[in-house]
């Protein structure tokens, strides 16, 4: 029963990683930008939710609903003002831009909010702590199930958006051949800005869930970025369901490692990631990087 519990907790943890990863995967898939500030944008989302919840005295869930449109707009502006310009400078410039952005965000957050560790768990109330006790060794937290449900809904919704809607088709077309997309009337810059907006909003969602589930501070971003990146690689580029799978594999690997010995938790996740990279599948990752 203990092992069932370990796997179940791993799946729930993996849902958080998948939620972090889907925006990273979207930005890389659509415009080949590896957004090194993705984790930090998630932390910005967490602070925004914290700020709204604190000032307006509302539940973090209500604050999150208010914060998401703000982050959506912020993402759009981020692309138009910064990333879109950097894309003109070749493939290396966007990477350096997001690296710089990550540092700027971390330091601004430290300046504004101090390095204190915070959590939204207490403000979220009973839902953050309630759980179903299935048996002695197995308890499933309500909030974990909520995150899993949201992750499935967000990734499934994005997949549906990309496949079934006109805007989504434009996004896939631009990802596959931006030059040809312009020739059929698609404004590639607007498509890129929309993709960044969606990515930043999902990052904020993941950041808020992280903040409710555990703790956050101004420097929490890079760790989340690594987990998100690993989830994307394990699941394979170009598939949102793959990203969900990758997040869950990473989560289960970490909880299994952690069950054997608490200090193996991170290590086990990294080892699975390295194993995927070294496998024959890992070698074809770059070739399969376009969104389908």
């Amino acid at each position: 029963m203990t092992w069932v519990n370990v796997v179940v907790q791993g799946v729930l943890l993996g849902a958080v990683y998948a939620l972090f990863a889907c925006g990273l995967s979207l930005m890389f898939g659509v415009m080949r930008i590896i957004n090194l500030a993705h984790g930090d944008l998630a932390v910005v989302g967490a602070y925004l939710v914290w700020l709204v919840a604190d000032k307006a005295h509302v539940s973090p869930f209500v604050a999150l609903i208010a914060a998401l449109p703000v982050m959506l707009i912020a993402g759009y502006i981020l692309h138009v003002a910064l990333l879109g310009r950097s894309l003109r400078g070749g493939p290396l410039v966007p990477l350096l831009t997001t690296f710089g952005l990550a540092i700027a965000i971390q330091n601004t957050l430290q300046e504004a909010f101090s390095p204190d560790v915070r959590s939204l768990g207490a403000a979220a109330g009973w839902i953050a702590t309630a759980s179903w006790r299935i048996s002695g060794g197995l308890a499933i937290s309500w909030f974990g199930v909520l995150i899993l449900a949201v992750a499935v809904a967000v990734l499934g919704g994005l997949d549906w958006f990309l496949r079934r809607t006109g805007l989504g088709r434009e996004m896939r077309a631009t990802a596959q051949d931006p030059d040809a997309a312009r020739l059929v009337g698609i404004d590639a810059r607007a498509v890129y800005a929309r993709a960044t907006a969606i990515a930043v909003a999902t990052a904020a969602l993941a950041g808020a869930f992280l903040a409710i589930r555990s703790t956050f501070e101004p420097l929490s971003g890079p760790t989340q970025l690594i987990f998100a990146f690993e989830a994307v690689v394990i699941g394979g580029f170009g598939s949102l369901w793959g990203t969900l799978f990758g997040g869950i594999v990473l989560g289960v690997a970490q909880t299994i490692g952690g069950h054997i010995d608490p200090q193996y938790s991170m290590l086990a996740g990294h080892l699975v990631f390295l194993a995927v990279l070294a496998s024959p599948r890992g070698r074809t990752l770059a070739a399969r990087s376009a969104w389908t």
């Binding site: 006109g166 088709r169 896939r172 077309a173 596959q176 051949d177 312009r182 020739l183 059929v184 009337g185």
Partner: protein, 239 residues
């Protein structure tokens, strides 16, 4: 009425001066064949007209408006569509999706998924197949159909027969001939002189980025075009 007017157009590929001082005028309903050897600047000229390549000097007017610096997607909205060299379909999207994505911001007009599939009946059974899994001829038909979905007033066709089996070229040209008979305005780049002359009513021959010969297709002999094509005679007809 002049639909497209080009004056003194220059375009560069880095240091290469690919298009030099080209001036052209195309009226509604014209069918112009652009011929010339490899590297004569035909593709660059078409891409510059479509907005996919920047002009370094000169003016392009479409329907009276200066569009020289307009980006490609805005030119599509005005009614210029390019079928690019190498077809450039979205490989992981189906035939239907390739058509739909082009039709999304289309000008109002006669072309819809249904009319395109009527014009290229070979595509009807393939509508749910991935573009990458099509044969060359099927891809070319899809590429032309995709351009038509934007309801262009001016259709630019770049090397539609390149890399296709002779039978596939026949099929594509049969559809093109029907399309052209409806009064479409077309600029066609073609390596195959015979095909170009058969379909066009005017011929422009480029050599090293310059227009060296221009005339009505009916009045030009194959020999004169060939001479201009290889630069055997100067523009004035002097050896």
């Amino acid at each position: 009425m002049t639909l497209l007017a080009v004056e003194g157009l220059d375009a560069h590929h880095g240091l290469l001066h690919a298009v030099r001082g080209v001036s052209l005028a195309i009226a509604e309903g014209d069918k112009l064949a652009l011929v010339g050897a490899n590297g004569a600047g035909k593709t660059t000229l078409l891409r510059t007209l479509a907005g996919a390549h920047p002009a370094s000097a000169g003016v392009v007017r479409f329907d009276g408006a200066d569009i020289t610096v307009l980006p490609a997607h805005r030119r599509v909205a005005l009614g210029i569509a390019l079928v690019p060299e190498g077809r450039r379909l979205f490989p992981d999207m189906t035939v239907l999706e390739n058509l739909l994505v082009a039709g999304r911001r289309a000008r109002p007009g006669p072309w819809t998924v249904d009319t395109v599939l009527d014009a290229f009946p070979l595509l009807r059974p393939l509508r749910d197949r991935r573009a990458a899994a099509l044969s060359g001829g099927e891809q070319q038909a899809t590429a032309i159909g995709r351009a038509l979905m934007t309801n262009p007033r001016l259709l630019l066709l770049d090397e539609v027969s390149l890399g296709l089996a002779p039978r596939a070229v026949d099929t594509v040209y049969e559809s093109l001939a029907r399309l052209i008979a409806t009064g479409a305005t077309v600029i066609l780049v073609e390596q195959d002189l015979g095909r170009g002359l058969a379909i066009a009513d005017r011929v422009v021959c480029l050599l090293e980025g310059r227009i060296v010969l221009e005339g009505a297709a009916a009045e030009l002999t194959r020999e004169r075009v060939t001479e201009a094509y290889f630069g055997l005679r100067g523009p004035g007809g002097q050896p």
